[in-house]
């Protein structure tokens, strides 16, 4: 029983890490909170459905979705950044309000284009792993593996490439980075696109496990917030560790306690962390 909880929790944790990472990067570099982040996740899932629908094949649909969904969502992110966020000068409060507006717009446009019902997407491969006590979906394990690969990919991007270098520089100090010739405006756009793209990617991976529907973005958003706060705003390492902490403990607690109670406990846990260390586990001290 505990084994199942840990297994399920791990899969959740990987996906959560991927989603929260996007939010964390955006905050780390741009110092803003994107309330519509959950909608990017949802769009990934919805585009995945369309890809599956057009190709009428689960494998090609999956591949297509993996390739194009993050790109399309990335474009939407860049568009929002350019025409909305930049116009409010990345003011923290204004971006929150603006991204709430973007949330409503994306959600409702999806409702209009996709419909109110939840639609399933078939997994590209389907096999069942038989443990002595229960069966488990092979695809879920694949999701964990792929998420892990993506996380490594992002890490490589940040630590080993020029783009990553620029991003880290901009995070440290925007003005000095600009003085040094870093194209900070473009970096902002790239980071926002990357954040959205990661969320969309998570959506594509996750949608065969759960259906796509226009309201699915809210829950991941709230969870990402919890993860990012506990891990510490601005710390990538903190985000990932917190994601695992939350994912696995949520899995375990839900097995032994009622899920609603588990969620309440998770929130109160966050409060405790904040009392002890207001900037989160690994957060930098700001403001």
């Amino acid at each position: 029983m505990v084994f199942l909880a840990v297994l399920d929790g791990t899969v959740t944790a990987f996906v959560l890490a991927l989603i929260a990472l996007g939010l964390s990067l955006v905050f780390g570099v741009m110092r803003i909170v994107n309330v519509s982040h959950g909608e990017f996740f949802m769009l990934g899932a919805v585009f995945s459905w369309f890809a599956y629908h057009w190709t009428a094949d689960s494998v090609w649909g999956f591949v297509l979705a993996l390739l194009i969904a993050p790109v399309i969502v990335g474009f939407i992110a860049v568009f929002s950044e350019r025409f909305i966020l930049r116009k409010v000068d990345y003011n923290p409060e204004s971006t929150i309000v603006a991204t709430i507006g973007i949330l409503y717009v994306i959600q409702q446009l999806t409702l209009m284009g996709f419909g109110p019902e939840a639609r399933p997407v078939e997994a590209p491969i389907y096999f069942r792993i038989s443990f002595p006590w229960f069966g488990y979906s092979g695809y879920k394990l694949l999701v964990a593996v792929m998420s892990g690969l993506c996380l490594c990919g992002v890490w490589l991007l940040l630590k080993r490439t020029k783009l990553g270098l620029y991003m880290r520089a901009t995070q440290q100090d925007y003005e000095i980075a600009t003085t040094f010739g870093v194209p900070t405006k473009k970096i902002y756009a790239s980071v926002f696109a990357l954040g959205g793209g990661l969320a969309a990617l998570a959506g594509v991976l996750v949608v065969p496990i759960r259906q796509a529907d226009h309201l699915m973005g809210l829950e991941p958003l709230l969870l990402s917030f919890i993860v990012v706060i506990i891990g510490g705003l601005g710390s990538i390492r903190g985000t990932i560790i917190a994601a695992f902490l939350i994912g696995i403990s949520d899995g375990i607690i839900s097995v032994f306690y009622e899920p609603t109670l588990a969620k309440m406990l998770a929130t109160l846990f966050v409060v405790m962390i904040l009392i002890i260390k207001p900037s989160g586990l690994f957060g930098e001290n700001q403001q």
Partner: protein, 443 residues
């Protein structure tokens, strides 16, 4: 050859005849008759009552056009419009045309109250009708009571019959979950097994299932092996399946919402080929094609249906006429789009309720708001509705005290990619003693 007027009187008399008996007795009588067949009530209501003014009867339709109820709202709206069109084609209500005014309540209780207000005071409708989701009913019905306007619910919630609402609220043509569960429980225990695990959503609708199924089990000597409440936002269910004990014969599941398909798939992944029997409620799959990927695990399992989705499940002429008129094909999908599966076990409530309103208006001689009292008292005097075009789901027994009806229920099995009816309950199977008496309350 009887004139329409005489025919109308005869039908009316057969209704009056029913009023003499007790609720239980009437139910047994109707149930015993088997498929009542093509008794088409002639609804051409050219009666002597409401001498025609051309002023339409305005019915305010509180629709879940957006929000979590949007799927149902869509089908409710289609059914309502089809019913109104048909009623107008046969002469309207008491010779007056019916006019439907629709407002969206967003499946939100606070907007529900505002919508009731708007329909009543701005659009000045005669009646308000059409709500499904129970929290919206709870938020809106009190307002209807304050505004003193009759409010007809199409919800299948138990709140009307529980006495929690007011005398203006009726649920005349769709049975409530208590009745549904009571009716099918015995069949489950007798045919599927006596050790039952309950899986339900963690809110009122789920609790009703938990409570009434447990009560039914206690009465029949069956045992509830587990009661698993799943939060509405859950997106992964694997961790709940481990809580089901090994000695369970039947899993009774009532999951609703976007996670249903995941729920079924994960149940399949968890159990593999050796699994307990399954009994579900079609609420889980309203609007969803049974052949959707991931639902393979349901093959061979059983479902409660209020009205069989597939046409061969209950092929009476009234039911076929209704299906055709609302635009649904033999598989339960929209005729114009086979991917658009209907909410067939709920939407009939709209059709039938509009006809019930018609019958009440015509019998009571209602002309305007001053006549609400007479209308309500007439309604409370009804003891049932006969099957036919007006009531295609089946005959109903109506309790004036609880403002709620009882009706037949269906058990279907999933086989060969469709639902096949294997059992039809009698109306008496779902009856329970009234727990309230609205007739004693003031208006």
């Amino acid at each position: 050859m009887m004139s329409n007027k005489e025919k109308g009187k005869v039908d009316q008399q057969s209704e009056l005849h029913i009023t003499r008996r007790s609720v239980i007795g009437a139910g047994a009588a109707i149930a015993g008759a088997g498929i009542i067949g093509s008794q088409l009530i002639d609804p051409v209501a050219k009666t002597a009552y409401a001498a025609g003014s051309d002023e339409p009867i305005r019915i305010g339709f509180q629709a879940h056009r957006t929000g979590i109820g949007a799927l149902y709202g869509r089908w409710y709206e289609r059914t309502t419009n089809a019913a109104a069109k048909y009623i107008n084609s046969i002469g309207g209500i008491a010779g007056r045309p019916i006019e439907i005014i629709t407002e969206d309540d967003g499946t939100d209780p606070k907007r529900g109250a505002d919508v009731v207000e708007k329909l009543a005071t701005k659009h000045k409708v005669d009646f308000v009708y059409g709500t499904l989701f129970s929290h919206v009913v709870m938020g809106s019905a009190p307002r209807a009571g304050e505004l003193k306007i009759p409010y007809f619910v199409v919800s299948e919630g138990y709140h009307v019959a529980s006495g929690a609402l007011n005398r203006y609220v009726f649920q005349p043509c769709i049975t409530d979950v208590r009745s549904q569960i009571t009716a099918v429980s015995n069949w489950i225990f007798s045919n599927l097994g006596k050790n039952v695990a309950l899986i339900f959503p963690d809110y009122a609708f789920g609790y009703d299932h938990r409570d009434y199924a447990s009560a039914a089990a206690a009465k029949s000597g069956a045992k509830i092996t587990a009661k698993i409440a799943i939060p509405p936002t859950a997106s992964s269910f694997t961790r709940y399946f481990v809580k089901i004990p090994k000695n369970t014969d039947v899993i009774y599941h009532v999951m609703v919402g976007p996670g249903v398909l995941t729920f079924v798939r994960e149940m399949g992944e968890h159990y593999g080929t050796r699994h307990p029997k399954l009994f579900g409620f079609i609420d889980s799959l309203e609007g969803v094609n049974i052949n959707s990927p991931g639902l393979e695990f349901l093959d061979g399992s059983h479902f409660w249906e209020a009205m069989p989705r597939y046409a061969d499940g209950y092929p009476t002429s009234g039911s076929n006429f209704y299906r055709d008129t609302v635009g649904v094909d033999n598989t339960g999908a929209s005729k114009s789009d086979s991917k658009d599966v209907s909410a067939y076990s709920h939407m009939f409530g709209c059709w039938e309720t509009l006809f019930a309103i018609k019958e009440a208006v015509e019998q009571s001689g209602y002309k305007s708001k001053k006549d609400y009292k007479t209308l309500i008292e007439t309604f409370e005097g009804f003891t049932g509705f006969n099957e036919g075009i007006a009531h295609p789901q089946g005959s109903k027994v109506f309790s004036g005290k609880t403002h709620q009806c009882y009706g037949q229920q269906f058990v279907s099995q999933v086989k060969n990619g469709k639902f096949n009816v294997v059992h039809r309950t009698s109306i008496a199977d779902g009856m329970y003693e009234p727990e309230t008496d609205y007739t004693k309350k003031s208006l």
